[in-house]
């Protein structure tokens, strides 16, 4: 992908000799050339967070400064640690699904789908066509709302309030759809092993189509407001750069990896949910800076709209659950009137789904990056080990490297560009 904007923006500034001249913005600004470089004073420590809106959750950064230049950033995490992995060892597989909502709480439906897929891989079960398409819709809607939060809050971090409101208006529409489908706005818990909690209600597709018609308009407005905006370009281009080799070495994933020029997307390279049947492109950046991460995420939203349009066109009436009474609860009336259905209902509720002994790693492309669930089963109804491979945990681990040598104000922009969600990092 070629860079969309190559503009010469400049601002009056002071060079190192103290002469006033035009200082270029957004072109390989090197913080070491900052006028504040040679203070010669001792380093200063600045504590950011854990309770600060610009840390996107309870993240604490201890920043060591030489003048205004960042010498070192030390992230302290764990303030939101809830022991989900430990809790999972004490729960049935279907009871774990509510825990997955609470990890990456900006894209709960995508987490639900990922967990159901991992358990189904352990069981060797293939879900129905309608369920598969509805799960694709859930994943892509999650991608959109997660990226909208990202772009909105990053805009606020850099001083742009208005686009945030436009984006949250659109996000609200997705949340209304989510609420109509699952009954919850945040903690959706919408998948079950072998299917879904509920089918979409009547008229839901119409609401989705309407959203898909309206939403790209807002996206284009955001594009207009940000992509060529002097302040935005100046604060994002050439800042927080990570090379492709480093991005791989740091195990980055998702837009963080792709913005550095590594074309790896789980949906393309390890297709699940039939993503290979959908026509969509994977945007890849070139410079590995904040601006490229923004462009990648913006373009991903357009691509999600494409996938959603195809998925909703293919949606046909049909069952949403596999026809296996060992996995899926019988209907209410059957459980009340049919002896066998009642027995299955009882065994399901009391004993849970029991996959055979074995283990599986299942990675999916979540908005933040590759979310992997590693499940180890010993044949009982509760996993021996439920490991979450949290994408933002690994992405955040690169923050000290990204910030080294940057300016203090860039730390906020760089931290925002990583797109972290602390529920997932601390688990």
């Amino acid at each position: 992908m070629t860079r969309l904007v190559e503009m010469q923006l400049s601002t009056p500034g002071v060079d190192r000799r103290g002469d006033i001249r035009q200082v270029p913005l957004g072109v390989q600004r090197r913080p070491s050339e900052s006028v504040h470089n040679d203070f010669g004073a001792e380093h200063m420590l600045v504590n950011i967070g854990p309770q600060h809106p610009a840390t996107h959750g309870v993240l604490r950064l201890v920043v060591e400064l030489d003048g205004e230049t960042v010498k070192r950033v030390i992230p302290h995490i764990g303030y939101l640690h809830s022991g989900f992995e430990k809790l999972g060892e004490y729960r049935h597989y279907n009871q774990i699904i509510p825990l997955t909502d609470r990890t990456d709480y900006l894209s709960p439906m995508a987490n639900n789908v990922a967990f159901a897929l991992a358990v189904e891989a352990l069981l060797g079960v293939e879900v129905t066509e309608r369920c598969r398409l509805l799960r694709v819709i859930a994943c892509e809607l999650s991608r959109i709302i997660s990226h909208l939060v990202w772009a909105g809050t990053t805009g606020i971090d850099l001083g742009a309030m208005t686009p945030f409101l436009w984006m949250f208006e659109q996000r609200e529409r997705v949340y209304n759809l989510q609420e109509a489908w699952t009954g919850a706005r945040l903690t959706t818990s919408m998948t079950r092993v072998g299917g879904l909690m509920a089918d979409i209600p009547d008229g839901w597709e119409k609401g989705l189509r309407e959203f898909l018609r309206e939403f790209p308009k807002t996206l284009r407005e955001v594009d207009t407001m940000f992509s060529r905006n002097g302040i935005w370009v100046g604060r994002t281009q050439g800042v927080g750069v990570i090379s492709a080799a480093d991005a791989i070495n740091f195990s980055l994933s998702g837009p963080m990896l792709r913005a550095s020029g590594v074309a790896y997307d789980v949906r393309k390279d390890r297709p699940y949910l039939g993503y290979e049947e959908f026509d969509f492109d994977v945007p890849v950046g070139e410079h590995g800076d904040i601006y490229d991460r923004y462009i990648v995420r913006l373009e991903e939203m357009f691509q999600s709209v494409r996938i959603l349009e195809q998925a909703v066109d293919r949606l046909r009436p049909g069952p949403i659950n596999v026809a296996d009474p060992r996995l899926v609860l019988p209907g209410k009336s059957a459980a009340m009137s049919d002896m066998e259905a009642m027995i299955f209902h009882f065994k399901q509720v009391m004993e849970g789904v029991r996959p055979p002994a074995g283990e599986v790693y299942f990675g999916v492309e979540n908005p933040k990056g590759e979310l992997g669930y590693y499940l180890v089963s010993d044949g009982t109804a509760k996993p021996v080990r439920w490991r979450i491979r949290p994408p933002s945990f690994l992405n955040l681990a690169a923050l000290p490297q990204l910030c080294e040598g940057a300016l203090l104000s860039d730390v906020i922009a760089i931290n925002a560009s990583v797109d972290i969600v602390m529920g997932e990092i601390d688990r």
């Binding site: 764990g78 060797g124 297709p271 004993e351 283990e359 790693y361």
Partner: protein, 230 residues
């Protein structure tokens, strides 16, 4: 044996595990196994396949060399560490496992390498931070949650729990779900902790400027150390 302990699960005896993730490039091919066995011999202990994904068990002493070879060999090139974690089984007779999920982005292949450790003995393996920097936080988490010591790790500290956490390693099976200490004791420790002690002296270069700090801050830093509960 009651029904709830039936290992195969109700009605799932003999279920063929045909994973829908067959496209996951998980079954380790001969092009990897043959040169690995030839080079490392008996250090390659066994290969176990589950749900279409193979795990190669490697002897602890050779693990670092095997991982380095897997990363650097031009035919293997596992350049991406997807995940690093541990597994402890409920059955105490089964060994403790270190799990490395490797991926080759260039070849689009996956491989899981495992190291079996004696769960009763000291848990210690060589750090792979030198091979993949991404292992830094992952190893810190494994240390925090399981107590595995990584030889050669540059900064092996707790990461999710706080530095002065006294109760042990939460994801060990011997660790009770609600923690070892009573809620009253946990509250007492939390209230007694010195928040400023989180500026640990060795990790920050403020230590160099220690003499110039105001006296009260010097005292607090010196007294708190790494936040010892008083």
């Amino acid at each position: 044996m009651t029904a709830s302990q039936d290992a195969a699960g109700p009605g799932l005896v003999g279920t063929a595990n045909q994973s829908p993730t067959a496209r996951y490039q998980g079954v380790v091919p001969d092009s990897t196994m043959a040169p690995m066995r030839e080079r490392f011999g008996a250090a390659i202990e066994r290969v176990v396949t589950s749900c279409g994904q193979s795990s190669v068990f490697v002897a602890p002493h050779a693990a670092h060399a095997v991982l380095e070879w897997l990363r650097d060999d031009p035919d293997q090139r596992f350049d991406y560490l997807t995940d690093l974690t541990c597994v402890e089984y409920r059955d105490a007779e089964l060994p403790f496992e270190m799990v490395y999920q490797l991926r080759s982005l260039t070849r689009n292949a996956d491989l899981r390498v495992k190291i079996a450790l004696d769960g009763d003995g000291p848990l210690e393996v060589a750090s792979v931070v030198g091979l993949w920097i991404g292992a830094n936080w992952l190893e810190r988490e494994a240390y925090d949650m399981f107590g595995v010591v990584f030889r050669g790790h540059p900064d092996l500290r707790r990461i999710l729990m706080w530095d002065t956490y006294q109760e042990g390693h939460p994801l060990r099976k011997s660790f009770p779900l609600r923690g070892r200490f009573s809620r009253a004791e946990q509250t007492r420790q939390a209230l007694a902790a010195n928040p400023e002690a989180h500026y640990s002296m060795e990790e920050l270069s403020i230590a160099e400027a220690y003499g110039d700090l105001p006296r009260d801050m010097q005292e607090r830093l010196a007294a708190g150390g790494r936040g010892v509960v008083r």
